[in-house]
């Protein structure tokens, strides 16, 4: 198991998950969000080739009101 921060919360995950598997594991069903790992954007096209590592900081952002 590895420990990562997801939207500020520490979570334990299986080792060697890629981003696509992470999203499935977290139960994100619909589209309309974007992901950054360690403050670097991960585009959809790179989800399957990007492996989550121990200590990663993952941000999952979605639309909100803004000025």
């Amino acid at each position: 198991m590895i420990k990562v921060s997801i939207n500020g919360e520490i979570k334990e995950l299986e080792e060697n998950l890629n981003v696509k598997q992470l999203i499935e594991a977290l139960n994100y069903k619909t589209k309309g969000f974007a992901i950054a790992i360690n403050t670097t954007f991960v585009p959809i096209a790179k989800y399957e080739n990007t492996i989550i590592n121990d200590g990663d900081t993952i941000d999952i952002l979605a639309p909100v009101q803004g000025g």
Binding site: Y28, K31, P63
Partner: protein
């Protein structure tokens, strides 16, 4: 309604008002206010969302239904790196290369950081973004932003959410004079419709506002007021205002004045 169109970021629009989507009493009120404003650009943002919220939301559904242009912002960013990452994420989520670039340099007055804004602008333009940089009314900063390829500049009227109106109209005027080819939007600080008129009379291409509408007693009515204020200010600018005079000058003809006026 004014039927003339103008162009910004490759889009032809009728409305010269950019409206924010935050701080309304409720989503229905936001929707109604945006509709009433007839704005064709609405600003939005990105924030953390948990899986429990479904990775989508009511807010975004409402905005999509409005079928107008979205301008995502980088609000809350304090460095070029943060702003660039946010912009890249926004491009994927919102499907637009437009980005309202906000890199804050001071937490007290939310003043933009000119150095980080410039750095981020240069990189984002190279990555194909249409950058709408939120900046101060500093002419040299404006010049630097134009030099790195910004076609749009959004100097502040006064600090975000302050409602203080235009603190430095002469600085805003100088930017307008120096950059006739750029699209200029007064962003932030507009508090009342007369501020919008003033900004538009300076020859600015548009205004961007949020708090002044959302925090009004009646946001929907205020949206309407700003719609007309923006049009009035623009028409006033295009029509050309008269020169101020030191002394009074009668508007009624003096020729043919009746005799009793001649002795008064």
């Amino acid at each position: 309604m004014n039927n003339e169109t103008w162009e910004i970021g490759g889009k032809k629009l009728k409305s010269r008002m950019l409206i924010g989507s935050a701080l309304y009493p409720n989503p229905a009120n936001m929707e109604e206010a945006i509709k009433e404003s007839e704005a064709q650009i609405v600003t939005v943002a990105l924030r953390r969302q948990s899986a429990g919220e479904g990775g989508g939301n009511n807010f975004w559904d409402i905005i999509k239904e409005l079928n107008i242009n979205v301008l995502p912002n980088t609000a809350g960013c304090h460095s070029a790196k943060e702003a660039i990452t946010t912009a890249q994420m926004a491009r994927e989520v919102f499907g637009t290369n437009w980005i309202k670039l906000e890199v804050i340099g001071d937490q007290y007055n939310l003043q933009p950081d000119p150095f980080e804004t410039l750095k981020a602008s240069e990189i984002l333009i190279k990555e194909g973004f249409e950058v709408f940089p939120y900046t101060t009314d500093d002419l040299v900063v404006a010049k630097r932003l134009a030099n790195v390829g910004c076609k749009i500049l959004m100097p502040w009227g006064s600090p975000i959410g302050s409602g203080q109106g235009l603190m430095n109209p002469s600085n805003l005027k100088a930017i307008r004079k120096q950059f006739p080819e750029l699209k200029l939007i007064v962003d932030a600080g507009i508090g009342k419709p007369s501020d919008a008129v003033e900004a538009m009379q300076l020859g600015y291409d548009g205004i961007l506002l949020n708090s002044a509408i959302a925090l009004a007693q009646d946001p929907v009515k205020m949206a309407k007021a700003f719609k007309y204020a923006t049009i009035a200010g623009r028409l006033g600018y295009e029509a050309g205002t008269m020169q101020k005079r030191e002394f009074a000058s009668p508007s009624t003809p003096t020729v043919g004045t009746p005799f009793w006026h001649q002795f008064s």
